[in-house]
């Protein structure tokens, strides 16, 4: 039986079916959005063998550069390449301008919020956000009350997760305000992309991101406690066994700063120094990739071997600055997240530019009941976790998992929130020789020193398993290059 099929039904797009989710590339079958047209044309021109060859070259380049991450909970030394998809995700200049304004607004407001709750707590007195909710947060640090941080900047490096809803609206899914990672993949993806598709890249007018290291360095410099001399800045890593160690080495090299471990630093008379072959050298700013809990065994977890005894005292005395500040996790708690639109309104007297995703607070009896009745439809997340751990995706769960989460929610309702299962937008990915749609999110990296700075791009994470909604690298996700266009 003869059937007229549009062009994409054959060739590389033969198994590309649109669904209810927003499609980044197509408005209708065979109808790419204008920003994707040159890419679409190029894919149709290239033979599957050629595409495969470029994908292999890209994979090999990641392997040779040692761009790997460690998966926890498996055999020791499980290093994997972060799976990389060849086809770029494209963001128009207008979309980016909107995102940039929205992310800036959000980060400025969250910093005002942190400064407020660690000082006067006016927002709590005004009952915009319940006092209990803030104080019961696992990442709230009472030790930070009354501590002044340079420029009142608490979060100087954020990696906000954005998703695109069915109508094409970008919404914020999570604020990562503690030690967000992944920026090295953003930079490495771009490098590999330029090797794989040089001509396409040149003709597209893609905004550069290579200066991220420099912008991060000037951000950290702007946060030095003493401004009368050139500050010494270091990157503090938990060490080679950390899952993001590659990124730590990568960023230290990009910025030309020392990569230190806790044992390289010591505190004497409230001053932090690093131990070098030329003697002790004073340290002014620490870009720390170590969690709050492990920073200082005297102030926080006493069993931490990763930290520096006395660091917190030096910090409180204003002799050293930490990026990010201690205690920022209270602002990316997933229950506090529900109040971010109110926080923006309260401090800035503005409407939020980027909306939140609808969120149910399980401490509220009626919301909790609503959620418990619909566990098979909703997503449940632990408030203080990241990386896709301790999470239930209702529609993809079994009865046993739902019972387990029901039990956990009833035991500790403050510990969880629920959200609708989002039909994340989908972007074309090169899979087994053809192009198929996969769900994606977007994590831009926002820097805040003297002012807010966002390198135009981000990490587009891809749920590579067909139908999967989980993009975390620890859970089978990959990534692709993200192109922000000049116009």
């Amino acid at each position: 039986m003869a059937r007229t099929t549009p062009a994409p039904a054959s060739g590389p797009f033969q198994s590309y079916h649109l669904s209810g989710a927003f499609d980044e590339m197509f408005t209708a079958p065979g109808k790419p959005r204008s920003q994707y047209r040159p890419l679409y044309k190029r894919i149709l021109e290239l033979s599957p063998d050629e595409m495969r060859r470029r994908q292999q070259a890209a994979d090999l380049s990641f392997l040779h550069q040692g761009i790997t991450f460690t998966v926890y909970g498996r055999e020791e030394g499980t290093e994997k390449i972060f799976p990389y998809d060849l086809l770029p995700r494209i963001i128009t200049a207008a979309e980016w301008e909107h995102l940039e304004r929205g992310l800036t607004q959000r980060l400025v407001a969250l910093n005002l919020f942190l400064d407020d709750i660690y000082h006067k707590g006016v927002i709590l007195k005004d009952k915009v956000i319940p006092r209990d909710l803030v104080y019961s947060c696992k990442h709230y640090r009472k030790e930070m009350r009354g501590v002044d941080v340079p420029r009142q900047v608490y979060v100087s490096v954020a990696g906000t997760d954005l998703v695109r809803l069915a109508d094409g609206t970008f919404a914020v899914l999570e604020d990562n305000l503690r030690v967000p990672s992944g920026v090295s993949y953003m930079l490495a993806n771009r490098q590999v992309m330029k090797w794989a598709f040089p001509v396409l890249f040149r003709n597209f007018g893609v905004r550069p991101i290579d200066h991220y290291g420099q912008v991060l360095l000037s951000t950290l410099r702007a946060l030095a406690p003493q401004r009368d001399r050139e500050p010494t800045i270091v990157l503090l890593t938990p060490g080679v066994y950390n899952s993001a160690y590659f990124e730590h080495t990568f960023l230290a090299r990009q910025m030309g700063i020392q990569l230190v471990e806790g044992r390289d630093l010591l505190v004497h008379d409230g001053v932090v120094s690093m131990r070098t072959v030329g003697g002790l050298r004073r340290v002014d700013v620490i870009y720390r990739r170590v969690d709050d809990d492990f920073l200082d065994p005297l102030a926080f977890r006493p069993d931490s071997a990763l930290g520096v005894p006395g660091l917190f005292n030096a910090y409180r005395a204003g002799n050293v600055n930490l990026s990010n500040a201690i205690g920022t996790g209270v602002a990316d708690d997933k229950a506090v997240y529900a109040y971010v639109p109110a926080i923006i309104g309260y401090y800035l007297k503005e409407e939020p530019i980027l909306p939140n995703v609808e969120t149910y607070l399980l401490t509220d009896d009626s919301q909790r009941q609503h959620v418990l009745d619909r566990l098979d439809q909703l997503v449940v997340k632990a408030v203080g976790e990241s990386g896709g751990y301790d999470m239930l995706i209702g529609p993809h769960s079994c009865e046993r998992e739902r019972e387990e989460f029901r039990r956990r929610i009833e035991a500790r309702p403050r510990n969880y929130i629920a959200q609708p299962t989002l039909d994340l937008s989908r972007a074309p990915c090169f899979i087994d020789g053809v192009v198929e749609p996969r769900h994606v999110d977007l994590r831009p990296y926002i820097l805040y020193g003297e002012q807010v700075n966002i390198v135009p791009g981000g990490l587009t994470r891809v749920a590579l398993r067909r139908g999967s909604l989980v993009v975390n690298s620890s859970q089978g996700g990959g990534s692709k290059d993200t192109w922000v266009l000049c116009e």
């Binding site: 072959v277 003697g279 050298r281």
Partner: protein
């Protein structure tokens, strides 16, 4: 150029362990070949010398009593993960150290060391390796030498380079001193095959024959392996390099108490540079070698006390005087 003490420590040990693995591989290879042509009782004598040279801590007779044959012994010296001096353990330790400073060594260095490690790991699982041990030891020696060649040609000549050189030559000087002591302690060690083996353990047979002649005389061999200034596997050559590395480090990273360290190395250099063979033999070779080992241990400790694990109080003095900022 600032260098963290921890980084210097890793580079130093990376280099020492790799030098040790190469030395051990060469020693086992030479002795394995040697005993092939020996009657069992003199084989035991040679095994004993190997064990002493590698500071194994038990004699061959003791090992045999506990049921270990010569094949198992070479396996222990080569592959045993519980023996910290086995070739496998040394290469693993070298790699672990390199891994901690991976961003500071060249990527070529890392990939060569990684390749060597993976090769040894694979050989460990290979049941057939005992049938052609020479090929395996050859691979280890070549891998270690390739790594050193790559290091020479890709490393910036800063303090990192100096610590790599330091580790390599401290290890070399030490293992040469131990080997010479073990060799000349044994009676009958003047036999031709013994002397050939000694030279081969130091990759010195060919060079020695060029400088002297294949007529092997004890005095000439001691002269060559102990006091020669141009041969890379002589004690004097290694000590000269130790001294040079430490001079460069103290220029790059001035430390108040480096004077003591430089005095220690200067003294050792002088004894090898200006001492004569006649004096050394008259005073007793074993005592001289033991003294070299002691001095090397002092140098190692002084390197730590000066650059790596220095006491805070000592480091704080210049701070309070405001010399650093």
């Amino acid at each position: 150029m600032t260098m963290l003490s921890r980084v210097a420590d890793h580079l130093y040990w990376m280099s020492r362990y790799l030098e040790r693995s190469e030395h051990t591989a060469r020693m086992i290879d030479v002795f394995y070949n040697l005993v092939l042509e020996q009657a069992p009782e003199s084989a035991a004598r040679h095994w004993d010398k190997l064990l002493t040279s590698l500071e194994f801590g038990s004699t061959f007779a003791e090992l045999e009593k506990s049921g270990l044959d010569s094949h198992q012994l070479t396996q222990t010296l080569t592959f045993d993960a519980d023996n910290p001096s086995s070739i496998y353990s040394c290469i693993r330790a070298a790699r672990d150290n390199a891994r901690n400073v991976r961003e500071l060594i060249s990527s070529e260095m890392w990939s060569e060391l990684n390749r060597l490690y993976l090769g040894v790991t694979e050989a460990r699982r290979d049941e057939e390796i005992g049938a052609h041990p020479h090929d395996f030891y050859q691979t280890v020696k070549e891998g270690a030498q390739l790594f050193q060649g790559i290091t020479d040609s890709t490393t910036y000549r800063g303090p990192g380079w100096s610590f790599i050189q330091l580790g390599r030559f401290v290890e070399r000087a030490r293992s040469l001193a131990v080997l010479l002591e073990a060799h000349f302690k044994q009676a009958r060690s003047e036999e031709y095959l013994d002397l050939v083996a000694l030279l081969k353990c130091c990759t010195a047979f060919e060079a020695f024959c060029k400088v002297y002649s294949p007529e092997l005389q004890r005095a000439r061999i001691v002269q060559f392996l102990l006091l020669n200034s141009e041969f890379p596997h002589s004690v004097r050559f290694a000590v000269d390099r130790i001294d040079r590395s430490l001079q460069r480090i103290s220029e790059n990273a001035p430390q108040a108490n480096s004077t003591r360290l430089l005095r220690l190395t200067g003294r050792l250099v002088a004894s090898l540079r200006y001492g004569t063979l006649e004096e050394i033999l008259a005073a007793g070779l074993p005592g001289f070698l033991e003294e070299i080992r002691r001095q090397l241990a002092d140098i190692h400790d002084a390197v730590y006390a000066t650059y790596i694990a220095y006491p805070i109080e000592q480091a704080l003095e210049p701070l309070h005087a405001g010399e650093f900022w």
